[in-house]
């Protein structure tokens, strides 16, 4: 299915969330991070952080917690042909527990390309900018979502 181009005109509302200690610990433990700055408050403070430090890929969980805030479900992509092609993070300030972040999603680019086995592949880049209470940029995440030309077994 071709990209639903009307989604490119849409803007998505800002969303707010508090960065929680328990969620940081859970994320660190799943990945097997042994660095105690993610799990032990004393260690985090000894290392100069105000609270537990989020692992580098942590903001991933906030992209689409509410479908109204996120372009992804509105792209018209067939979920069976949707791939996460690339993921980029830009780091501006340490992300620690207790911060109240505001995020906003936007589609920053789209392109179509002929697939290797024929059919069109669609690439969409969604950027999420996260700012703190002072309005300062904390992190930027960019995900490239691909709709492949055909389901894997039919290719």
């Amino acid at each position: 299915m071709p990209l639903d181009k009307s989604v490119l005109e849409r803007t998505f509302p800002e969303f707010e969330f508090r960065v929680e200690r328990g969620k940081i610990r859970e994320y660190a433990l799943v990945l097997g991070l042994t660095d105690p700055v993610h799990t032990d408050l004393e260690a985090a403070k000894a290392a100069g952080f105000d609270d537990l430090l989020a692992p580098p890929t942590f903001v991933r969980q906030f992209w689409h917690e509410n479908p109204g805030n996120d372009p992804m479900p509105h792209l018209g992509y067939d979920p069976k042909r949707r791939l996460h092609g690339e993921q980029e993070f830009e780091y501006h300030k340490p992300l620690v527990a207790g911060m109240n972040l505001k995020g906003r999603n936007a589609i920053v680019s789209t392109r179509e390309k002929e697939g290797r086995r024929g059919g069109m592949m669609t690439f969409v880049v969604i950027e999420t900018r996260f700012v703190d209470e002072a309005g300062e940029l904390v992190q930027v995440a960019r995900r490239t979502l691909i709709e492949t030309a055909a389901p894997p077994k039919e290719a």
């Binding site: 994320y27 799943v30 097997g32 991070l33 004393e42 000894a46 692992p55 991933r60």
Partner: protein, 143 residues
């Protein structure tokens, strides 16, 4: 007792310096835990019937699980707050039972605008040598 991790210092990170981390084998429990931790409940990562109907042999790992393992290697090597950017490109799926072998290498050690930086190239492969992800990062390690 508080564990303190010693991160590599910029001075020690000459071009060609390498670091490795092997994780796995990935279990289905890892996939479910990652879904819960990340909020990504795409059924391809836990629902056998859904995944098979979508054309896969079975559920497979979220790309960001391998991405997270690779970020763990970089974070525990260079320091968790040293990153300027991290860019991950996904090439192949990791399946339950697979090992994830992460490797990273300093490709550039330089100073810019008064900051001491390194550029890293990294990848994760399975036990058969198939590349799962490739990544690049810029970091300002401790000096």
């Amino acid at each position: 007792m508080t564990i303190v991790i010693e991160y590599a210092k910029w001075e020690e990170l000459a071009e060609g310096t390498e670091q490795e981390l092997t994780v796995g084998p990935i279990t289905r429990t890892d996939l479910v835990r990652y879904a819960g931790a990340s909020g990504d409940f795409n059924p391809n990562h836990h629902d056998e019937i859904y995944a098979i109907r979508a054309g896969f042999d079975k559920p497979f790992a979220h790309g960001m699980l391998q991405g997270g393992y690779l970020a763990r290697l970089l974070s525990e090597w260079l320091g968790p707050d040293s990153f300027k950017n991290l860019k991950i490109r996904f090439s192949a799926q990791a399946w339950p039972g697979d090992m994830v072998i992460c490797k990273a290498r300093v490709v550039r050690q330089y100073e810019e605008a008064g900051e001491r930086l390194v550029e890293i190239e990294a990848s994760a492969a399975n036990q058969r040598g198939d590349v799962l992800i490739k990544a690049t990062a810029t970091a300002a390690p401790r000096t």
